[in-house]
Subunit: 348 residues, 2 copies
């Protein structure tokens, strides 16, 4: 396999495991997956650009990984060669803390090992992700992919899917509830599909009138244009739950006003400080502002099974590996419906 | 009874009910209470100063009211003359909306009628509160006061008490939980007493080392000095619930770090915008930032009964009516342990 000059330089200094970019040799509990498709998450671009000041180059991004099992360690019992399998945002966690014991590996108190750019002795200093031909991870962090799922649209379920599914499940969304999904992008379009499939009255809340038709095709019962103060005022206090997928700092006042008494707005997009939260809105209605991060491994498997049962996959544009820079440029402009997925057979 | 010049002027114009400052005549479902003690809440001072731009002068503040029933309307069945009774922050609500039907009159969707400075046809334009000899309200908004409760310390239960009791009940605080009460003032000292009585491991979190001893006397198992970063870092991720009674905008980052996965911090003090909330802290731990307002009528009665069962009252300094301006000055400096209560017999 080819490697970047930076990687070659590190390799020459003995600083990295020469196998690490593509794969480590499978250990006794490891599963090796030949990657067929990998989704492109906005997080990938943040790491490529070192937006968060924590990138360790060389980086192999990608945490929406689907492929077929090509090798298994001697102790692996749950997977065999040829199985359709997936890896999401994590490849390891301590396994012993309360979060791990509760099946919330994403909140591992010692810090989960992310699929890429995460310090790990198993990799060359940091883990390498799914923009690759092959990946190896402990079987506990591998997911079964139901064969009925359309494979290209399955890749984004591993991040965009579980990030929206998990909070909807945690706050027990179902029939008789009114749910608003704020923002129609990679996360938002999955939120609409899941909320609809869970039986809730689902409203897409967006600033883009042009997205209204799409939102209804995705399963929204109604579309609310956030900039239309008249329309917003008609739905004050009507929502049991809001899933906020807007990826940047923004004023949440008008959204909190949409919540019922005891309602919750869960933020899954913006991982940055909100510079204005009106405590009075929380107090005068016992409302909650919450956050949620991906989901646990068992819950991710449940999500994939739910998708198979409800014929849900992500809406994707399949690209070749060499188109990734163009894809990143379009991603910045939100010019994708609704997730790029790389065909890994295009990686030479 | 005497009246202010402004009130006299309004009266001359026929704009106010001449009886409204002291009492209206009891209607068939009304209870009249001769007020013995009325607590002094910081909200009173905000209204006196028109800090929130919504004061309608003349104002009679006071919503922590305890006294004896002196008259009852012909249809009143739950109260009789001589009963020890109380009124808190509300004297009416629509009674028909979902919140009222759920027993959450404080969140009445049509707006509850506050005990003072709230528009009402029953009063002279706005309601008048407890800094008075007498008050009249519908029996549904009157509380029974168990005779075993020490009466001066009972008055603040009607606001400071229920404001802290209600969220602790709503988030089901009890044995096996670790609860932090942030801020030791009128609200905070009640939060410590309730959390302790509910069986939770209770930690007072304060910036004032001088309050540590008091906090333990009030029932805190431990005291955490918020400015001691070393001490704070030892309790990261340990709290199930935080009750934040700080009455002004402040940075909540260090408090959110104290919460466990899935933990909640409930704000009951600051009714103003928080100008910095780190969404990442909510996301990386599925934490919630919530708010809560006083409590419903049935819950307030439950709180009073709980206080009788657990011998809980507020710690108070009893003052005479003519000392109120000095008391307000001390209130601004947090120079009170922990609530002023006016002896209404001092009102000539």
């Amino acid at each position: 396999m080819s490697s970047t000059p930076a990687y070659a330089a590190l390799k020459a200094k003995g600083k990295v495991n020469p196998f690490s970019i593509d794969r480590r040799e499978p250990g006794p509990n490891d599963v090796q997956i030949d990657i067929e498709y990998c989704g492109v998450c906005h997080t990938d671009l943040h790491f490529v650009n070192n937006d968060w000041g924590m990138s360790e180059y060389p980086i192999v991004p990608g945490h929406e990984i689907v492929g077929r099992v090509s090798a298994t360690g001697e102790k692996v019992e749950k997977y065999k060669q040829g199985d359709l399998a997936a890896i999401g945002c994590m490849v390891d966690s301590c396994g012993t803390c309360q979060s791990c014991q509760d099946g919330n590996e994403q909140y591992c108190l010692r810090g989960m090992t992310a699929t890429y750019n995460s310090p790990s002795e198993d990799a060359g200093g940091v883990t390498f992700g799914g923009y690759s031909k092959c990946i190896v991870a402990h079987e506990d962090f591998i997911l079964h992919v139901p064969e009925s799922l359309e494979i290209t649209g399955t890749a984004p379920l591993l991040c965009a899917g579980i990030t929206t599914y998990s909070p909807l499940r945690n706050w027990q969304i179902g029939k008789g509830m009114k749910v608003g999904i704020i923002g129609l992008g990679g996360l938002g379009h999955m939120g609409v599909k899941f909320s609809h499939a869970m039986g809730a009255q689902t409203v897409m809340i967006t600033n883009s009138e042009s997205k209204a038709e799409d939102a209804k095709l995705l399963g929204a019962d109604d579309v609310l244009i956030a900039s239309d103060t008249g329309a917003m005022s008609k739905q004050l206090g009507e929502f049991d739950f809001l899933l906020n997928t807007i990826p940047v700092n923004h004023n949440i006042d008008s959204y909190l006003d949409l919540l019922k008494i005891d309602g919750t707005m869960c933020v899954v997009g913006a991982v940055e400080p909100l510079n204005h939260v009106n405590a009075a809105q929380l107090i005068f209605g016992r409302k909650s502002l919450a956050g949620s991060l991906i989901g646990g491994i068992q819950e991710t498997q449940e999500m994939l099974n739910f998708c198979a049962d409800h014929s849900i996959v992500s809406e994707v544009e399949v690209i070749r590996m060499e188109e990734i820079n163009d894809a990143y440029e379009r991603l910045v402009k939100s010019d994708v419906k609704y997730r790029f997925v790389i065909d890994m057979n295009s990686l030479s």
